[in-house]
């Protein structure tokens, strides 16, 4: 997904002279093909996130579309005020490509795991918050970013994530994707949790429960129309996210239901409000948090 995202920046740079890449201090050779083809639109500016966001804002004020890339925790927490003031207050078309959303960097510990990125980005006016499910959807999504007038936060998965989105999807920011129609219960997911929810739906089918999956590649703007229709049609909603239970997709859905006075029962499956205190792999930590297909299915059966 990350490689696809960066490859697409290069592709967009070929299509549009306004596209610029700005990295901090990425792994050696990152996006080398673009650096060679467009050396004047490729910036690698060191471990200085605050300055880089300002630089991207200045470029955007004068007509460029900067795609900024570094690790998710650093592009959010480290330079939050620059993101808020330089990008969101000025409402500039800067894209923040965040490596390792959620638990991807499990072996590297809590400084590198972005478990509150969706919450803090979602709280900023003008910011779009996105987490696609797979590399194929990433291609379609990146094309849609070119002419979006506002800043976009782009959460990346680990890479090699199972492809679950349909090839004929027309990507629109703010639109959800129904991956499986729901009857008894509807999973509402974002990012790579779509595949886990589909796995859980298969397990629930063995128990005679028909579960569907609505995938939200954009957590903000939220697809209110599809969600409200779903909440009026199915008896139960279950949000599933690789994120703190505070402020992310589950919170967004809860806010929508409350604001529309809908009594549909909502179960929020997410990470606990604590820093991850184990290593291993993303899969391992998801399993510990009950966010693997089996854990998700069990939570539904228990609720």
């Amino acid at each position: 997904m990350r490689e696809t995202s960066l490859r697409m920046v290069h592709e967009l740079a070929r299509r549009d002279p306004r596209v610029v890449f700005v990295g901090s201090d990425l792994g050696a050779g990152a996006l080398d093909a673009m650096r060679q083809e467009f050396p004047d639109r490729f910036y690698m500016e060191g471990v200085s996130e605050a300055a880089i966001i300002g630089l991207a804002a200045g470029l955007a004020m004068d007509g460029y579309i900067p795609y900024v890339n570094t690790i998710a925790t650093f592009i959010t927490r480290r330079c939050y005020e620059q993101v808020a003031v330089d990008l969101c207050l000025h409402n500039l078309p800067v894209r923040l490509i965040a490596n390792g959303g959620g638990l991807v960097y499990a072996p590297l510990g809590p400084t590198h795991m972005a478990i509150e990125d969706l919450a803090i980005m979602r709280a900023l006016p003008n910011m779009a918050v996105t987490a696609v499910a797979d590399a194929e959807e990433m291609k379609r999504f990146m094309l849609a970013t070119l002419d979006y007038p506002s800043p976009i936060y782009i959460r990346l998965g680990k890479g090699g994530d199972k492809v679950v989105t349909p090839a004929d999807q027309v990507f629109t920011l703010g639109k959800s994707v129904e991956l499986k129609p729901a009857k008894d219960v509807a999973f509402v997911t974002t990012g790579v949790m779509a595949s886990r929810a589909l796995g859980a739906a298969a397990l629930l089918a063995e128990h005679g429960i028909e579960a569907g999956v609505l995938h939200m590649p954009t957590v903000k703007p939220l697809d209110d129309v599809a969600l409200l229709a779903l909440a009026r049609r199915v008896p139960r909603l279950v949000t599933v996210e690789e994120h703190s239970r505070i402020g992310g997709l589950g919170s967004a859905v809860a806010e929508l239901l409350i604001d529309n006075r809908l009594p549909t029962p909502l179960l929020r499956l997410a990470l606990p409000d604590s820093f991850p205190d184990d290593y291993g792999s993303q899969e391992h930590l998801l399993e510990v948090a009950g966010l693997d297909p089996k854990g998700i299915a069990q939570s539904v059966l228990k609720s």
């Binding site: 200085s48 605050a50 880089i52 630089l55 470029l59 004020m61 004068d62 005020e81 620059q82 000025h90």
Partner: protein, 255 residues
Amino acid sequence: MVIDALDGGGRGHVGAALSIIEIVRVLYDDVLKVRPSEPRWPDRDRFILSKGHGCLGLYAMLADKGFFDRSEIAQQCRPGALLGGHPEIRTPGVEASTGALGHGLGIGVGMALAARMQKRNSRVFVLTGDGELNEGSVWESALIASKHALSNLCLIVDYNKMQSYGRVADILPLEPLGAKFEAFGFGVSEVDGHDVAALRQVFAAPGTPNRPRAVICHTVKGRGIPICEHNASWHHKAKLAPEQVAELRHALAAT
């Protein structure tokens, strides 16, 4: 006009505005290529007031140049006003919304790079405070400006030696400031920031080739009004009594 704004809005960063008056005067009179009737003219020079709390000085100059009507000045900070307690891009002539410190130089670096890529002759001027140089983001941006040899970028430091709580020398000393910018790869000039002729001369002189510029302006916080000068308690004032405003006007008239 600064005192009119204080009087009308009932508040403002007085000292911070008065220390930059001559700097913005010289910039807008003699240095910047701008068009008040066409504020977004692409080939203009950019001026970012990174120390956004000095905005009363900038507003007075923009009004004087005709970017907006002078009657807006007395409305600052009121409901529905064009002018707030920090500059925002909705005001004609304001290039970036500032107020949070340490943002202007990063944005200026991006604008200077954009000018180079677009082969425009636009220059970018960023005015920071001295207390603002406490922010690490300024120094990150200074490294990047130097790396890219941004000779079209000029950092101006309003070095009035006072920050909000007290003397810069006590809160977080900056000396040797000129040497710091030299070490960061800037061509450095130091000037009396209230000496109009000296300021004109500095900005008219060619910079060092392939280096960003730093012009360190030695200034006096609250310049021109004896009760404000060098006085940290005049960094920001709210709830000014009519007698205080009268006192300010009287002091200014006497100088």
